[in-house]
Symmetry: C2
Subunit: 455 residues, 2 copies
């Protein structure tokens, strides 16, 4: 009887000839044996926000390595990389003063990389603008000595909220650099958020080549705060805005990408890379950005082991460091990959949240994309139907070659900017099943690339 | 100049020849001018849970009529219907007693329609079962005088959580009826919930033809409570369960379906019906079940008016009463529709929550379904890709004829049973954009059926 059972089990495994059966098995496994949710619980609740160079980032690296070592990889290692270290300091403070003694508190968060205000705060008149271009039109005369308030909202009519983000984020990324050129002494940016609420959204900025003396402090204001400031400006154009932040750029410190590798049984020189980024902003605990991508990536080998699938090609899981404010981990990985002449035939990144997976976007040539479209049918039973050409992810996009395929997981983006870079990007905003379906989606796509390659 | 502008506007309207342009306009409008979110705010937060026969249900009827009258309908009226009136009474109470004096509180909610326990509560030994069939196997000997604890969980591996619900809900619907036949004195049912938490999920039951004396009290226990009870039973099989609930079935009372109609310009005798249900369970405020469906339906004419679309066929919006515990509104509507020989060529119901719309399920013949599939391409830009054959909705399914088409909106179902029939089905669990995309999806499909009919 026992022998018969073993034969049956062997038969059952070898009878996995149809891809749809394997993929069903992958999704079943993801909904019943995924480790994504419990991993993310630990990363979010026991480690928390983990900005590059912080103690939390150090702990996240240790944790990532230690968890990957428990899985069935051949090798897990740390790849050293120098990262910027920016510290927020004490909680920021801001108010609108419509006349002496009449004030309105508003929630702000320093933008990542910003300089501090004077320790007593920075107080000045405000000029509201809706684009970088408007600065040029207003000119130095109208801007000099003022705080520039960038208030162009994200546009609600875009179905992909990342598109709306891309069309508004120049204010946050370049606002300080550009406003400084016209003599502004600080900037306030409407949060990158489609809804009205009280959470300021931090995020990176650049000062370009500005000398130290020309760097002006920059903060995000919540969307409700922005609405209030805008409406008060209409009544009291001479009102003053005061904000205080004690953030600071420290010296670069050593950190690490965490890498795990399982050699392929048949094509060990063809690498399939699965990635997310381990660092996060410091305001929340980075559950969606990008704890979800980290645990999606880690879950791959857990799922493959559960269904007893042995990859033919080499699988690499990379937990990138420093996506948020420097991409140093990505640059370092690429540099070493080039030096070692590694051949990444396929790479996929999950960095758009832990929401319901709707599909993937692919960076590749048309011929390969048409081949990939033939796999779409395998995903329809899981309501995953979006196979489009488009970007992959900020960390992996530098791995593009003429012949390979890059992809990005595309989850439901409608709620993403409610949480992004705020104190409410926390574990309670994660739905277990949606997170697990993301693991299943990635594992299924990797299975197909592993089985069929890209030729 | 003004004249030119008017000509341009007219031209812009008449140039709407391509359906994809109209549908883009519908979705843009839904994301910028929908009233769904503010309506739902009022219905949920100012009226609240509205079980049939309650004062809240009465207020919801008045509100629905008054809001529909503000829209561009030809006629709004109330359709009287007698509905059951069941009242929950004071908050229920339950505990597990492993030995005298050692007790564990657990959260329960009386099932809708259940009889009360004695006023001091009902206390007995517990027998845990996993199916109705198991009752038969155990027989009267093992069940008599006990509380039956139905503990079969919803199965996580189903992608459509409604499938898992359908496979588990017999315990809630029929458990009391069946257990009573074997002498049980009460039942406790594991909540219809895929996750582990502390919220009991109420919902309807039937006692079938049981005489009054044989009706036994029935309550849902939270999934965490069910896990605790199950694990304690393994250590202390003789433990006792005590629960107290003072719910009561009162006499039927008069209530109403709320109906609004806009006559078609070209085919006034062909009716297109859009519906949700106005009643909800009493524990939460019924935002997802089915406040969302109500405001989706009401939003249709708001959207059409905004894009200046005049329906060729007659549009009816029906806010059904009493879906949750009797379907009397549905039965009444059908009865009068038959009497008046109305021709509903298409009906769509939204009763699966206000989450991201993924598609529709259709009840119709294969020939019509194939024609409908040709419209799928119009929805792809909005990541709405699920066009499947299947059920429509509990209220409209009786409108099926040999020649018409019924449909149900199919939103993302992964989170639905976190909230369903609990005190956390509240407005804060609604995402504005996801709700609005539901309005857009329904309006777009109605536009196509209105323009092309079903022949």
């Amino acid at each position: 009887m026992r022998k018969l059972l073993i034969i049956f089990i062997l038969f059952a495994q070898f009878s996995y000839t149809q891809d749809d059966i394997v993929i069903k098995d992958i999704f079943n496994t993801s909904l019943t044996k995924s480790k994504a949710y419990s991993w993310l619980d630990y990363l979010s609740n026991q480690i928390g926000g983990r900005l590059s160079g912080s103690l939390e980032a150090e702990r996240a690296v240790e944790w990532g390595k230690s968890e990957l070592e428990k899985l069935n990889f051949d090798k897990v290692w740390l790849q050293p990389v120098m990262v910027p270290r920016w510290v927020r300091g004490p909680k920021e403070f801001a108010l609108i003063e419509t006349e002496p003694g009449i004030t309105f508190n508003v929630p702000i968060a320093a933008l990542g990389g910003s300089v501090a205000t004077p320790s007593v705060g920075l107080k000045a008149e405000v000029i509201e603008v809706f684009s970088l271009k408007e600065l040029e039109e207003l000119g130095k005369e109208k801007i000099d000595g003022k705080i520039v308030f960038f208030n162009r909202p994200m546009e609600p009519e875009f179905i992909q909220t990342f598109t709306a983000y891309g069309r508004a984020v120049d204010q946050r990324a370049l606002g300080a650099l550009e406003a400084s050129k016209y003599g502004a002494i600080g900037i306030i940016v409407r949060s990158m958020n489609l809804r009205l609420d009280d959470h300021p959204h931090t995020g990176g900025l650049t000062y370009g080549d500005l000398p130290e003396s020309k760097k002006i402090p920059a903060a995000a204001i919540s969307t409700n705060g922005a609405e209030k400031l805008s409406s008060l400006l209409k009544i009291k154009p001479k009102l003053k805005f005061l904000f205080r932040q004690q953030c600071k750029q420290m010296s670069d410190v050593m950190s690490y990408n965490v890498i795990a590798e399982k050699k392929g049984t048949t094509f060990p020189d063809e690498i399939i890379l699965v990635a997310g980024h381990l660092d996060s902003w410091d305001t929340g605990d980075g559950s969606h950005d990008d704890g979800a991508g980290i645990v999606h990536s880690m879950d791959l080998i857990n799922i493959f082991d559960n269904i007893n699938y042995k990859p033919k090609r080499t699988i690499r899981v990379v937990l990138y460091m420093n996506e948020e404010n420097g991409k140093r981990g990505s640059i370092k990985y690429k540099e070493i990959s080039d030096r070692e002449k590694l051949n990444h035939i396929f790479a996929i990144e999950s960095d758009a949240g832990g929401f319901l997976p709707l599909g993937f976007s692919f960076t590749t040539d048309n011929e390969k994309f048409l081949k990939i479209l033939e796999w779409k049918k395998f995903f329809a039973p899981y309501f995953i139907n979006v196979f489009i050409k488009g970007g992959s992810g900020a960390d992996i996009e530098n791995l593009r070659t003429d012949s390979n395929v890059l992809a990005g997981l595309r989850p439901n983006s409608q709620r993403y900017f409610d949480y992004h870079h705020t104190e409410i990007d926390t574990f309670d905003a994660i739905n277990k099943r949606e997170l697990e379906l993301g693991s299943g989606a990635i594992a299924s796509l990797v299975y197909l690339f592993d089985k069929y390659g890209i030729e």
